[in-house]
């Protein structure tokens, strides 16, 4: 289940010594800036984890918090406040960047829930083939195989300085098709957001599984589009 956001044990404010909840950026008593809280990105904005977010409200809150936290406001403050302003603002920016983007937001929430998403991007694991066959969506298996052949031939032709209008047309067609598929995935994802946001525990678990699969499919499709674009020189 979700990480506990509110700590049961209050910690003391460095300035006024009054205990406060550790998810706060400012001391509720003396308003002084606090070290980065331990909560997740949603809690930075005082939000419950949800996939449907009110983006204008999120932006408004981002601006409001930026005004209070930004290092520009602490240029002449004491050293510890400067450091916390830097750390808190980095957290705020990281949180906003993640939450404002629907895909990053979905991935983030799923990871928060313990899901393994996509190929590890961590440098320690990279180098793994992004075309890992086990990740190919089964309904696309045959087509992807053929597309890869076409891409290879196209690359070879390019290298020997030839252009093949027929190949090019068929690749462009393939690209358009993948775009349509991508849009379908996005629509499915939005439906799952609803299911997760409004569902009970069982409904959420099911939605999570479907979203992980959808994100995998989406990543696969975008890689295909990228490969096609590379070869088409777009």
């Amino acid at each position: 289940m979700l990480k506990v956001i509110d700590s049961a044990v209050p910690i003391a404010c460095w300035s006024c010594s009054i205990g406060h909840n550790d998810s706060t950026l400012f001391c509720p008593h003396c308003s002084k800036i606090q070290p980065p809280p331990g909560g997740d990105y949603f809690s930075v904005f005082g939000l419950e984890p949800k996939l449907n977010l009110d983006l204008p409200a999120l932006e408004h809150e981002f601006h409001r918090l930026s005004r209070k936290l930004h290092p520009d406001r602490f240029a002449r403050a004491q050293e510890n406040e400067k450091q916390w302003s830097l750390a808190d603002t980095a957290l705020l920016n990281d949180a906003y960047r993640t939450l404002k983007d629907p895909l990053r937001r979905t991935e983030y929430l799923l990871k928060l829930l313990g899901a393994e998403i996509g190929p590890e991007t961590s440098p320690a694991h990279s180098g793994k083939d992004r075309k890992d066959p086990s990740r190919v969506p089964t309904d696309l298996l045959e087509e992807v195989f053929e597309l890869n052949m076409q891409l290879e031939e196209m690359r070879a032709a390019r290298e020997s300085g030839e252009t093949d209008a027929q190949f090019e047309a068929s690749l462009t067609q393939a690209k358009e098709k993948y775009h349509v598929l991508l849009e379908a995935v996005d629509e499915d994802l939005r439906a799952e957001w609803e299911a997760w946001d409004s569902g009970g525990a069982a409904a959420r678990a099911a939605a999570q599984r479907r979203m992980v699969a959808l994100l995998d499919r989406r990543r696969y499709l975008s890689n295909l589009v990228r490969d096609v674009n590379e070869v088409l020189g777009a």
């Binding site: 005004r67 930004h70 002449r76 440098p123 990279s126 180098g127």
Partner: protein
């Protein structure tokens, strides 16, 4: 001590400026000569001042307009456009240096910060920049009659980590606490945004002396949120000068059999003529070179604006790609840009304005770019606004906040030499990322990490930032240690790294080896003469400076009658100079720094025409090759700027 004023500094490739907020309005602080622009030129004086205590010599340098005069007379002791060398490695600047009269110290080695040979001394680029900053600091201190110790300094938005760090180091050497590095286009937007607190999307097109930036910002409720930025840190007016210069030098060589490249002073004289031609072509349909050559020939060449525009087209075209990428990264079309701001002297060129108009479909939408603020000053004015925001003491800026981005993605070299991106370009800064590393071999206690900046797939094609060695990992089976490394890009766009081994709870040691840059100790040792940084007796310091300046100009006037230019002066002019000299000689004994300065200015004004005559004489003597024997032979391959057009097309 009460905190003093925070000034805003534009440390430019060609010119530098210092500005501050006067009430609710940013103002440029003029230099001793009364001019706002301080040319970013540093000259080593011919006679070093001996330091008896140490038995050595203290380099005496001049900065600005006076240093520019030395460019033609003693080119081997002068450096300009040093910004192009900031934060760069030896191998990166070799090509660049071919375009300049100065050269690297003979004992420069790869891996260390390159040093430039000036006369008998060697300087790193941050040291040269520090001299410029110190001059600006002094100008501000004179202006306020109070010490100035804190500043905001602007940098090109597309500057990488090393270039930013080098700029900060220069500030420290000059005795300035750099409260913030601000991106130049963003600063320009601040200067414009001050009196138009409205919402909208702004594009800032900044083509300066040596760098190009494009930034797209969203402005709302006083918050300036940068959406994307792009650019080229080696593209600007210098490149245009070099094109004109190469044409003149090539044609002089081909048509008159004179190779001026052998004589750095002559090259600088032709460069001066080339810059004049360029400037004239912004307002006139035609400009001309007219240069007397050593063999008595004249090089005369008319350059119509149309030909000039064809010539510079490839340079201007290099700004198109970054603009398009910035639009894509911001996720908008040209039509969604509400306003365009032009920054940098090169945006005075009509062809540049034409290009900007086409890029953002301005005329088609009945819009014009903003040029109300002087494009040479707008960045410094914006820096002053940011300085005021940081000082936090003013009503006029308390609602304003700048949210800038990192221009380049940050990555780590992964297996196979590929790059794993950990912070994407155009992320709002401060930004952070946490990565976990482990060991590959049983009992391994070190893990090496290579951090790069850039957008390419392979680490070798990106800019190497630093190599870290995570040391002191407790010996465990391979893959068991879990080292958490936190990367943080601060509000100046500079990277900080911390690491922790999570299983044993030990703090892993990190030794940061920046690929390019000075160590803390090196910066410490390069801090400019200590008396300059002593705040204790500020009045005394001002007095010493005023007297030094008086002595410098008096010494020059003393030698004046030996110069042939003296004979060209009228009797009245000579009398005026003598009167001003006697006056200054009398005033300089007093304890009144302001009076000494005023008398110095009077003498400076009186000798202005003499200085011009001397300059002209120097230019023509340089061109006639009279001092040919002093030319450095190593400069034989001096100018190799690309030659975009066959000379015949100029006929």
């Amino acid at each position: 001590m009460a905190e003093g004023r925070v000034v805003g500094i534009d440390l430019g490739t060609t010119n530098s400026l210092v500005a501050y907020m006067e009430g609710d309005r940013p103002v440029v602080i003029p230099g001793v000569d009364g001019l706002n622009l301080v040319p970013s030129v540093v000259a080593l004086d011919p006679i070093p001042v001996p330091i008896p205590a140490e038995g050595g010599y203290r380099p005496t340098v001049t900065v600005g307009n006076s240093a520019r005069k030395a460019l033609i007379q003693t080119p081997e002791r002068v450096i300009y456009s040093v910004k192009r060398l900031m934060g760069r490695g030896l191998e990166e600047i070799q090509e660049e240096l071919k375009l300049f009269p100065f050269h690297l110290a003979g004992d420069s080695e790869a891996g260390e910060v390159p040093r430039i040979q000036l006369g008998e001394l060697r300087f790193t680029p941050p040291e040269i920049s520090a001299y410029i900053l110190r001059q600006l600091k002094r100008n501000a201190e004179r202006f306020f009659s109070a010490p100035v110790t804190q500043a905001v300094i602007t940098v090109p938005a597309y500057f990488n980590d090393a270039q930013r760090q080098a700029t900060k180091d220069a500030g420290r050497m000059a005795g300035l606490e750099v409260l913030r590095l601000v991106n130049e286009p963003t600063a320009a937007a601040l200067a414009y945004g001050l009196d138009r607190a409205k919402a909208g999307t702004i594009a800032v097109y900044d083509l300066g002396g040596g760098t190009f930036d494009i930034s797209i910002l969203k402005l709302r409720d006083g918050i300036f949120e940068v959406q994307s930025t792009n650019g080229d840190t080696h593209l600007g007016g210098d490149d245009i000068d070099n094109l004109l210069l190469a044409i003149a030098l090539n044609e002089i060589h081909a048509e008159h059999g004179v190779d001026l490249r052998l004589h750095p002073g002559a090259v600088q004289a032709v460069r001066k003529a080339a810059i004049e031609v360029k400037i004239q072509l912004s307002t006139e349909p035609m400009a001309r070179f007219d240069i007397e050559l050593p063999n008595g020939d004249r090089y005369q060449r008319e350059i119509p604006r149309g030909v000039f525009e064809l010539l510079i087209e490839p340079v201007l075209a290099r700004t198109v790609g970054p603009c398009k990428q910035a639009l894509i990264d911001a996720g908008i079309t040209p039509e969604q840009i509400d306003e365009v701001v032009l920054v940098g002297g090169s945006t005075r060129i009509p062809a540049v304005r034409q290009l900007v108009d086409e890029l953002f479909h301005l005329a088609a939408r009945g819009k014009k770019p903003h040029i109300e603020l002087n494009p040479d000053e707008v960045v410094a004015l914006g820096a002053a606004v940011q300085a005021d925001i940081l000082a936090g003491a003013s009503k006029s800026t308390e609602e304003m906040l700048l949210l800038d981005v990192t221009p380049l993605s940050l990555g780590i070299e992964a297996l196979g030499g590929t790059v794993a991106r950990i912070i994407q370009r155009n992320s709002t800064i401060p930004a952070s990322a946490t990565e976990h590393f482990t060991t590959g071999v049983d009992g391994q206690t070190n893990v090496a990490i290579h951090v790069v900046q850039g957008e390419r797939e392979l680490a070798a094609d990106c800019r190497s930032l630093a190599r870290f060695d995570l040391k002191g990992i407790p010996p465990m089976s391979a893959g068991l240690p879990r080292i958490e490394v936190r990367f943080l890009i601060d509000a100046d766009g500079i990277l900080h790294v911390t690491a922790r081994e999570q299983r044993s709870g030990t703090e892993a040691q990190i030794e940061v080896k920046p690929t390019y840059g000075l160590t803390d100790e090196q910066v410490e040792s390069m801090i400019l003469d200590s008396f300059d940084n002593a705040e204790a007796d500020f009045a005394k310091r001002l007095l010493i400076e005023a007297r030094n300046e008086a002595e410098t100009i008096l010494a020059a006037v003393e030698r004046a009658p030996e110069n042939p230019a003296w004979m060209q002066l009228t009797g009245d002019e000579k009398t005026a100079i003598n009167l001003a000299r006697d006056y200054l000689n009398k005033v300089k004994q007093s304890e009144n720094a302001a009076a000494i300065r005023e008398a110095t200015l009077i003498l400076d004004h009186a000798t202005r025409r003499f200085a011009e005559l001397m300059m002209e004489a120097a230019v023509s003597s340089a061109l006639r090759g009279k001092t040919m024997n002093t030319a450095g032979e190593e400069l034989a391959e001096a100018v190799t700027a690309p030659h975009a057009m066959a000379p015949a097309e100029f006929k």
